[in-house]
Symmetry: C2
Subunit: 204 residues, 2 copies
């Protein structure tokens, strides 16, 4: 453990920051033509990667599909998502690495033997990978917003054909496709209602 | 759609905000005795709930376990997590509502019939609920940090006994237990390595 002489006080995110990530942020349905650079796309990951995962497993993988490769991706999108996937300056295919445990000696150097525990237990490996990749997808979407970009996450695509096309060896499984860019004209749909605290929170 | 006459420019999170949520934030392993109020705990959800889920399904549920109810929870925690779960000012059990579709007429008022689609398709309902509850767990952890609090997420507990105890009708399934509070003495372990961009990002 690191020795800290004084209590640690954490900063609260200011109102602008809370608005940018949570309260004012919206899912973008149109994008401006302003490009998103490879450096910006890499920076999204460089932010998101610091948020926690179970025993530091980090199973999320990111395939960025550039505009010149977009037609191939669009064939796998549901009809209602094809036009916006074509128009987005950048698109990320988020995927789950089913063999994430191969990195355990690197990411958890004091417990390298966990690699073998996961290798021997398919159910544990699938549960850990599925849950933590989705957790990281949440971090990833908020990291996009943290960089002043808009995200358009889409579950409407054919996972079977996308995975067969881009991940033919079966190691990676797509979980979400995310349009990324600066908002365009009329970018937002009306905001949908959120559940009330009484429907979500209980106390024990 | 809402008409917007001007292009929308989004704010980038400032350096302090990025540090608070991502680059400097750490999983807390000890907590100060400073209480966390019910109002703060409710505010965590009020921030997290605005981030997106598939067709606005919002399957995450939160059970806050107060200090006076903590002994009951601790019986379900792995030995290595019992002491810190006992010491945390607040603890959240995050769960997945397997019947989230009952809220669809409220949360997706223009497509109420999706309630019946999910009711008739167990595999679709399970996949959607599992993925989106985990996505929301990611938002929830970052919302804790956005409020100037430290999070200590733990997967090390007995889901079967916890669910049988707290959710005996089987509707809710626990996914993560999260200690919440202000950091205490020596709160951080040494930071573990993150994967390099080359291990995570591909381009197409």
């Amino acid at each position: 453990m690191t020795k800290t002489a004084e209590p640690v006080t954490l900063d609260r995110l200011d109102e602008a920051g809370r608005a940018a990530l949570f309260t004012d942020a919206r899912t973008a349905n149109t994008f401006a033509s302003t490009p998103v650079t490879d450096a910006e796309l890499t920076e999204i990951w460089e932010l998101a990667r610091w948020a926690p995962t179970a025993v530091n497993t980090q199973p999320l993988r990111v395939l960025y599909v550039r505009p010149e490769g977009r037609d191939r991706l669009i064939t796998h999108m549901n009809d209602g998502n094809k036009a916006k996937t074509a128009a987005a300056p950048a698109v990320a295919v988020l995927a789950h690495d089913t063999q994430f445990h191969e990195h355990i000696p690197t990411v958890l150097p004091f417990r390298p033997e966990l690699k073998d525990v996961y290798a021997a237990n398919d159910a544990l490996r699938t549960d850990t990978g599925t849950f933590n990749a989705a957790l990281q997808a949440g971090y990833f979407l908020l990291a996009i917003r943290a960089l002043g970009l808009a995200a358009g996450p889409m579950g409407g695509f054919n996972k079977a054909t996308l995975d067969a096309d881009y991940f033919p060896d079966g190691r990676f499984r797509s979980i979400l496709v995310v349009n990324i860019g600066h908002p365009g004209e009329n970018p937002w749909f009306p905001r949908l209602p959120r559940l009330d605290a009484a429907d979500v929170i209980a106390w024990a």
